[in-house]
Structures are given as C-alpha cells and as structure tokens.
C-alpha cells in the first residue's frame, strides 16, 4: 500500500535518507525504530508531504507522493497523522477538533460527522470530554483526541510520529491501548516509536533505521529477540537497559 523506492533526502548538505526501500501492505502495522537522527521521523513526514524528498519515489496505492504536487491535499485526506506533541487546535473543543477535517475539508454533512465524531471520542474513552478544550485535557487525553481526529478522516493508513514521547509515563499506556485496538482492527499503521515492548506485541514488522538507511527489517519478534546486526543489537540494549 505504501511503497518506498530508493528514497533520498537531504537538508542542505546533510543527507538524512540514503536510499530507503520498503513496502507496507494493507492492514500491516510497521514500527520504525532507531537512534535519534536516524531519519525515521523524516521518512514518516515524507509520506504525507510534510517534507519533500530529492530522489526516489514514495507511493500510496500507486499514487506518487510529491510535496510540490497540487494533489498533495488529496493524499493527506487518505493518510492521517498523529504527532508527538498532539497539535490539537487549541481554539476548538475536542469534538470540534475531530469534526474539523470531515466538515471543512471533505465537506461532509455536519450532523452526520457530529455523530461519527461522538462515536470516535467514545471509542477512545473520552465521551465525557467532547466539549473540553485541549488546554483542560491531560497529555494522554489530548493524544487520544488526536487519534480520533485522524480516524475521523476515514484514512487508509495512519502515521504516528513518536505518539508517546511527549507523555508523562503514566499516560503512555492509555494511548498505546487505543493504538493496539486499531492494530487489531487491521488499520494500516506506520509508527515511529521508542516503545520496544509495544513494537514487539503489536507490530507485524519492524524497520531498524540508522544513518538514513534501513539496517535491518523483519517480523517484530525476530528482530527484537535476535537482531542480526551489531548496530541493532547495540541500540536495543541501550533502549531496553538504559542503566
């Protein structure tokens, strides 16, 4: 469904992606792991055009993603994103945040969207908070609203950019739980994460990135239990045993 074909990107003279090849099938959950600066967030942001890339090709269902293309907007309506810092619209309530895309971008019927948005907020456990503004919600609650906002677009895939990194430790669980349910429902998900345990339990496949390349990829259990590559082994040891 999402295909990377020899993708290269640089910021000025600094090359952050040096030839990424990978394919994510429909319904798969793929985790991108790797040290900071390895290019995993950049790769994710190239998928919905928040970053452009210089060489190679990213395509979604055969449609090439090109940040300069005027059709980029229609790609964004098919692939949603959840951000590290939630990025909820602070001047709108939880419900309005969820309704914003379908009503104003997809121009769907407001009443219908409203009901769907309520159902989504209920699903992420926030039925009580529909009329709260983001500033009165905890980090975990905000991120769950952000997931509902992403789902409201009825996307074919969701990109998660370190969705739990900005959360207090006690709130990580509630967000991962929502993601786990999504994965069980066969949502296609591409997740940049440092949650190795989550990657092991939930993802179908893990891509380990370092220095702008995919060093190793394969089924989560295999890679995380028995990494072939020194760099993967080293990285995993450091994140699982930081002391």
């Amino acid at each position: 469904m999402i295909a990377f074909d020899n993708v290269h990107k640089s910021f000025g003279r600094h090359e952050v992606l040096r030839g990424i090849d990978a394919e994510i099938a429909k319904g798969q959950v793929v985790c991108l792991i790797g040290p900071s600066g390895s290019g995993k967030s950049t790769l994710l942001r190239c998928v919905n055009g928040l970053e452009d890339y210089q060489r190679g090709r990213i395509s979604i269902d055969g449609v090439v993603v090109d940040a300069a293309s005027p059709d980029l907007h229609s790609i964004c309506t098919r692939v949603s994103m959840v951000f590290q810092k939630f990025n909820l619209f602070p001047h709108r309530t939880a419900l309005e945040n969820v309704m914003e895309g379908p009503v104003y971008v997809l121009k769907e019927d407001r009443q219908e969207v409203r009901e769907r948005a309520m159902a989504l907020l209920n699903r992420v456990g926030l039925a009580e908070k529909t009329n709260s503004y983001p500033s009165s919600l905890s980090g975990g609650q905000q991120q769950r609203v952000a997931i509902a906002r992403a789902l409201a677009m009825r996307p074919q895939a969701i990109l998660f950019d370190e969705p739990t990194s900005a959360l207090d430790p006690e709130m990580v669980g509630e967000v991962l739980q929502v993601m786990r349910v999504l994965a069980d429902e066969d949502m296609t998900m591409l997740v940049v994460t440092h949650e190795i345990q989550f990657a092991r339990e939930v993802s179908d496949r893990v891509l380990f990135l370092d220095g702008g390349r995919i060093v190793e990829q394969g089924p989560a259990g295999e890679i995380l239990r028995d990494p072939k590559h020194d760099r993967t082994r080293d990285f995993l040891r450091r994140v699982t045993h930081p002391m």
Partner: protein
Amino acid sequence: MSTFVTNATEYLPILLRGVWLTVLTTTLALCLATALGLVWAIMRTSGISSLSVPARFLVEFLRGIPLLVVLFYIYFVAPDIGINLTALQAGVLGLGLAHSCYLGETFRAGIEAVDKGQIEAAKSIGMRRPLMMRRVVLPQALRIVLPPYANNMVMLLKDSSLVSVISVQELTMQGKMLASSTFDNMTVFTLVAALYLCLTIPLNFLMRRVEIHMEQAG
C-alpha cells in the same frame, strides 16, 4: 469653580459635535487600517515573493513618512491629479493608510507566532492554505494580536486629532476654535482632554474584557 461648571456646560454641546466626528473618523479609519493591514500581513506571510516584496516596500515606505505629511499630501496634492476628496475622506484615508502599516506588522507577527505544529496538523488533514488561514492560523493569531491591536486602536484614536490640520472639525479642532473665540483656554482644553479620556479609558477596559473572554474560551 462655579464659573468652570457654568462655562463647561456651555461649551460641552459644541465639543460633543467634535466628539462625534472623532468617533466617526476613528471608526472608519480603523476599519480601513484593519482590512488593509490584514492584506499586507497575508501578502507578507504568503511565501510568494511577488506578493511579499511589494507589501514590504509599501509598508516601509508609508511608515517612513510622518502622518501629518501623509494627510497634507492626500488633501492638498491629490486634487492636482484630479482626485477631489472631502476633508473627512482625506483624513480617514490618511489615518487608515498610515495605521494599516502598524497593524500589518502586528498581524504579521501574530501569524508568524502561531505554532508550526498547527500548520502541520492542518496540512495533515488535507487543508489547503486559504482554509488553513481561515480556520486554524488567523483565529489563533487573533488572540496573540489582540493586546497590541487594542493599543493600536487607542493610538489611532489619539492620532485622529491630527486630521484637524486639514479642517476636519473633530474634537481637537472644535476645542481650538472654541478656545480662540472665548480665550478660556483652561476650561476648553481641560474639557477636550477629559473627553478624549472618556473615549480611551472605556476602550481599554472593553478590550481587556474581550481578552479575558477569549482566554476563557480555551
């Protein structure tokens, strides 16, 4: 003291006619300055150089000329090129143009202060730029900009006294005429100053209320 009160009650109706024109000039000029200021700000933040460069030059150009000179220019030079404006029209135009520069810069700062994550979130749900500006950026910029905007409003109101030099009979002009016919400078200008304060203080108070209200709304 009693003569002050007697004289004041005599002068007040005349000065109030001036107050009306001051309010009218300020309101019209504020509408013009706000609309134009928004245009300059959107041009400057568009990222399109054929829009941002002219807007920058225009703002720099107008900001560099004293308001009095702008007013003289519009009122006295424009007829030479076939544009005849009444004093009020010229005053509103001059005030509006000059203040559109300050407001434009204020709005620009407000737009640029909106968190970049907001723009990414808007893009990530497929918003195009105009929709993003209208639904995401401008409402948030408005909150950031409100305190300096209120400040600009009060400055504009005070600057409206300058249009007296092109014979708009607003508060300052009425005061000056009254003072020169009665020689009662003390009473007249005390009243003029008090009347300005009666306009500016409630205005400040009102804007403060709006600000608090908007903060409460999230």
